[in-house]
Amino acid sequence: MKEAHHKADEKTYKFGMVIDLDKCTGCGACMVACMAENNLPFRKDNSDRLRSNLWMRVYKISNGRSFPDLDISFIPRPCQHCEGHGHHAATPCVSVCPATATDYSHETGIVSQVYTRCFGCRYCMAACPYHVRVFNWWDPTWPKGMSKYLNPDVSVRMRGVVEKCSFCYHRYQRAKNKAYAEERRELHEDEYQTACTQACPAGAITFGDLKNPEHKVYKLKKSPYAFRLLEKLGTNPKIYYVSTRDWVRKAGDVYLGKEGKDVTHA
């Protein structure tokens, strides 16, 4: 019944990412690319994590041991675009939004955020287990002249609304626009890629349609080393992580009690 809202000829996707944590060097290029692409304002000191808004954030975790056993890993964390199981309201943020400002799309599998509908109750921020949602405490400002470099495809958010990663949805629309002009409905894999994917110098991020066997992500997500963050919550996220290191996989799943005793978060 999920697809009942769509006409038979309408192409549906399930966009997702596979991020190889063994390749990630923590350089932060994805964060910068995301900010530039999505018109995210920045502060003079953007290292203040409580006050800076990032859609893509790179966390650093450590196995907590001392040298020579010390190991660290970086976890780039965009919106996980949770599908949930069954009905669309299983997405944590969608299920609580009183304004229908956020919704799960069965066409793309993307969790939307409509800034003009959001009135800033921040219920979704409380509901999101991944802390991907950020709130605009201030109207955005840019250094003089820099507002001319804003991306016209992404609207600038005002004070008082919640925002989050949209998988560069405007790029999907632009790609679709081009496809329609060429009178075809299906997008090629390389036509729609997110900014962070293209910016990653290590090639750690792979983006594509998770249910299309021809896309790279389809194969990568089936790796025995793949895991998803907080999988036990049943949010069914669309970001897969790959790491050959056991402690990283355990940390990603956030095992509790005994299970996680050798994992600390830095």
Binding site: H170, N177, K178, A179, A181, E183
Partner: protein, 246 residues
């Protein structure tokens, strides 16, 4: 029940008592109470008329301002010459839509005057000769938070231009550009369809059809409600917001 009966009795007695005097005059005076039923009707009519005229006549010009286009322009004449809409409003290669033509498009034909119309003379002396773009006022310009794909509607949806823009190709003159004084948005793109009235053309082509011959089949339908209505019919309601709102 009992009170009305009592009243009726009282009125009847009153009439009997007065009857003798009035027969002499042979004119029945207005009896107290008989005309009072008019009071609520008159009050309602007065209230209705004043609020109706407030909403339909007085408030709209306060809320909406009007501007004239820089050049009066006949779409009808140009469609006859060029053949179709896409001669001037075309798609670019990447699928984006060109929208309002640039001066270059106009200059292709109007480098020199083709007729004796004073509006054409204005186009040439004020814009083409100095090479200045015409500051057209765009009825359909969307706010910054809106994404719209012409390709999706025209190429894939196979929709006619007139479904949203109205039969603008048949107009002899441009109509005034109306915009909301508060939001500065065009009146064509935002607001409610009160009881579906915009379908009947109350806000479209009133000035444009002054020849009196143009048959208006339907008006421009570009308000958000219009979009939503059609999308609901064609696609269902899900993820409707994010399709257009960015």
């Amino acid at each position: 029940m009992s009170t009305t009966e009592e009243k009726e009795q009282a009125v009847a007695e009153n009439e009997q008592a007065k009857g003798g005097d009035e027969q002499a005059a042979e004119v029945a005076p207005v009896k107290p109470g008989t005309w009072r039923f008019l009071i609520p009707i008159a009050a309602f009519a007065l209230g209705f008329m004043s609020h109706f005229s407030l909403g339909w006549v007085i408030l709209p010009p306060i809320l909406y301002a009007e501007k004239q286009q820089p050049i009066d322009f006949s779409h009808k004449l140009h469609v006859d010459e060029v053949g179709d809409c896409e001669g001037c409003h075309y798609f670019r290669e990447d699928g984006s839509f060109s929208g309002i033509p640039e001066l270059e498009n106009c200059a292709e034909c109007h480098e020199e005057a083709m007729g004796e119309d004073p509006e054409e003379a204005k186009l040439i002396t004020e814009y083409i000769e100095p090479g200045k773009e015409i500051p057209w006022l765009i009825y359909a310009r969307q706010p910054q938070c809106v994404f719209f794909s012409h390709a999706a509607h025209v190429k894939m949806g196979e929709m006619d231009c007139a479904i949203c823009h109205g039969p603008i190709g048949d107009s002899d003159h441009v109509r005034p550009y109306q915009y909301n004084r508060l939001t500065k948005y065009s009146r064509d793109i935002w607001g409610w369809n009160i009881a579906g009235l915009s379908k009947n053309g109350w806000d479209y082509l009133k000035q444009a059809d002054n020849s009196g011959e143009i048959k208006i089949e339907h008006a421009a339908r570009m308000k958000m409600d219009d979009c939503a209505e059609c999308h609901m019919e064609k696609r269902g309601t899900h993820d409707a917001c994010f399709v257009c709102h960015k």
